[in-house]
Amino acid sequence: MNAQHPALAPGADGHNPFRAAMRRSRAPEPATLVIFGATGDLARRKLLPAVFGLWQDGLLGSAFNIVGVGRQEMTDEGFKDYALEALRSSKETDAPQPGSLEKFRELLYYEYGDFSGDEVYDRVRQELDRAGDAHGGRKNALFYLSTPPSLFEPISNGLGRLGLADESEGWRRIVIEKPFGRDLTSARELNGAIHRVWDESQVYRIDHYLGKETVQNLMAIRFGNAIFEPLWNRAMIDHVQITAAEDLGLEGRAGYYEEAGVVRDMLQNHLLQLFALTAMEPPVAFDAGAIRDEKVKVLRAVRPIPAGRVPEVAAFGQYGPGTLYGEALPGYREEPGVREGSTTPTYVAVKLEVDNWRWQGVPFFLRTGKRLPKKVTEIAVVFKRPPLGMFPGGLERNVLAFRIQPDEGVSLKFSSKSPGQEMVLREVVMDFRYDAFGAPLESPYSRLLLDAMLGDATLFPREDEVDCAWQLVSGLLDTAGNTPPQDFPNYPAGTWGPEAADELIGPDRRWRRL
């Protein structure tokens, strides 16, 4: 073997040459995952199973451990038992290999204390020091705030006070769950507070919709095929419908929902993210900066909705008593924990108009609500009718539909000749179902956690995205809060929402029958 000059040898620059051709461009460096709110519902049902799956698949690097942090007093041993019980009882846990759970148990530690004091953060620092010794000196840490929103700022400040956001001994990142603020003002205050401690590049705001495979497939289909992009504009498309329907009611979350309502719970985050991915321009690269730049551009291009425009572009609803799946259901106001005469909206439909060259004159209709007839999330791109009717019967519009859940897939509706002597056309659907792959879909949390560990923020909304989204819904929130509708409840549980939504979409269009 010829010895190379040391300065030219692979690795001499500190970069790992073995990573150049790996499946992912790199695996996470040795790191500690610090979960605040580690004994909460989200951590138990989603986070711990996702982390275990990644670890068992060998995707979390050669040195990794988890520090659970909570206000509840508990020993390391107690937390280890708690976590293993959570893994055994969650439906989202991958089948453990023999001995895996026991080995995973060894990675777990626990600290507790008052989040407003310094003591608990000092203990976290000691955990990072200990891990750093075992991880070759690096003290990389991902802080996951799986806590109520009221604790985001105190925890961020506490980490900052103790110098735990400082990256001189390893990277430090913070993951923040939604809701990120409760309106534009509070979101800006929270961003300001976070940025007093963290640089934006360290902040990962999680919206689990973006971790769903089928949401990522929207980008794959738009930008991985040549046939769609030429059609993706005002010349060919009549309008776009984005639906996120829930069949569930409050499920014991009345306290949260009474404060949040449908606009904060679904529209400001999930639906506007789906809208942005559908409407954005092709990014120059598939990376965090490029994709988030394009999302912000299209969000900024949406015509503002001040309170005065709300009656023209939005319809609110609240469900009353009804039936679903053959069962009689109470109305929203009859749900346990809901204020008497509550005016909290459980349904909203909104028309977005995008003032740019691609979408001028093409409305985007977004709707979401609780106690609708089924659980379904879909993006439907509805094309214009053919310019000339050559055949008997009416002319139908083609529809390209992306089903996010359930029955994940893509379908194209078009007209075809019906068999027989007459030239009669009939609508048919060409259907691709994601389950044709025969593979279970990965948990969105596992994808997003791995990305955060890798430092890939592509699927995490950036500060300016969140700000734009709050700006867009501010008028809706003001209207819902200040001029409560007199006609609530205005749709029975188990139906597709209020009549006002049908009026919103206009006379020559109708909502997709899903």
Partner: protein
């Protein structure tokens, strides 16, 4: 988490080459399934004594890789083609189509080509230890997007119109990831220029995956040849025949080791002047089906494998010449 399937196997039904599609359609009608996976064809060529193992691997292969599996048994009756079709339930809950064909190679060539589902990806898996030759292989490599074979012993070189893949290469993927992780720390990566030697141990009597692994290490480190810098030694470490048991990279004052430590656990040690670092990693073992699925997913750039293959092949030829 993949739920176990509760669907029954449908078939096998004896049919003919011409009747195979109709027989499959009859089976589909029994399922009342709306979805068929038109994701590709895998053509597995084997001989009778390996048929059970080939089928076992294919049974664990999800439809996302190939919705139609065509198994050609090359030591079938001369002059005739026996055909069986069935629908095999997948772990994910849907069916894939399986066609078993028994014939001689010439008969298979005339039978397989019309049975390929058109306009999808074609994977050809040479699942036999006989050296492939003749019109059957040449026709199939013509339509193949990927040829999966024991590439170091069979005479199937990389070619421009298909990607060559090797199950032995796939099965060492976890070890490649583990080795890469040792050098994620910049201080460890900077020691690589001092590495001069690679020692590998493997389970059982099949050293070919270890040779491909060595080719990958050497090509990554810019070594022009494996001669004189790599050694291979069998070891009993509880892993399957051909799997790696451990490795050691060493040179002037530096040593990086990975050792299988029972189950999926692997212990690592990195040592250079002033530093000793020990960690544990999970290197999951891979079933034949998982290895097959991995190569069919084609996660890596083909030139990476081809560079490793070229070095490993050159070393083998040099050894044979001695």
């Amino acid at each position: 988490m993949t739920p176990p399937t509760t669907l029954p196997l449908l078939g096998p039904v004896e049919t003919s080459v011409r009747g195979a599609q109709a027989a499959l359609d009859d089976l589909w009608a029994q399922t009342q399934a709306e979805t068929r996976a038109y994701t590709g064809n895998i053509i597995a060529l084997t001989v009778g004594r390996h048929l059970a193992r080939v089928e076992e691997a294919l049974a664990g292969l999800e439809g996302r890789y190939a919705g139609r599996q065509i198994i050609g048994v090359m030591d079938g009756p001369p002059g005739e083609v026996r055909v069986q079709v069935s629908l095999v339930p997948q772990p994910g809950g849907l069916y894939i189509e399986r066609l078993r064909l028994w014939a001689d190679p010439e008969g298979l060539q005339g039978a397989i080509l019309p049975l390929l589902r058109p306009a999808t990806v074609n994977h050809v898996w040479w699942g036999a230890d006989t050296r492939p030759e003749g019109v059957l292989l040449s026709e199939l490599t013509e339509i193949a997007d990927q040829v999966i074979a024991d590439s170091l012993t069979l005479d199937i070189p990389p070619a421009r119109h298909y990607a060559l893949a090797d199950l032995g290469w796939s099965r060492s993927a976890g070890w490649r990831e583990a080795l890469a992780q040792l050098f994620d720390s910049p201080d460890a990566a900077r020691q690589l220029g001092r590495v001069r030697e690679l020692r590998l141990t493997y389970a059982g009597d099949n050293d070919l995956p270890a040779r491909l692994f060595a080719g990958w290490v050497a090509s990554t480190l810019g070594w022009p040849s494996l001669e004189g810098v790599t050694t291979y030694r069998p070891q009993d470490c509880g892993r399957e025949n051909g799997d790696l048991c451990g490795l050691e990279l060493r040179g002037e004052g530096v040593r990086f080791t990975l050792r299988a430590a029972g189950g999926d656990l692997v212990r690592s040690e990195c040592a250079w002047p002033g530093m000793t670092r020990r960690t544990e990693l999970n290197v999951p073992r891979m079933t034949l089906a998982e290895g097959l699925a991995r190569v069919m997913a084609r996660p890596e750039r083909r030139e990476v494998f081809e560079r490793a293959w070229a070095l490993a092949r050159a070393q083998l030829e040099a050894e044979r010449a001695r």
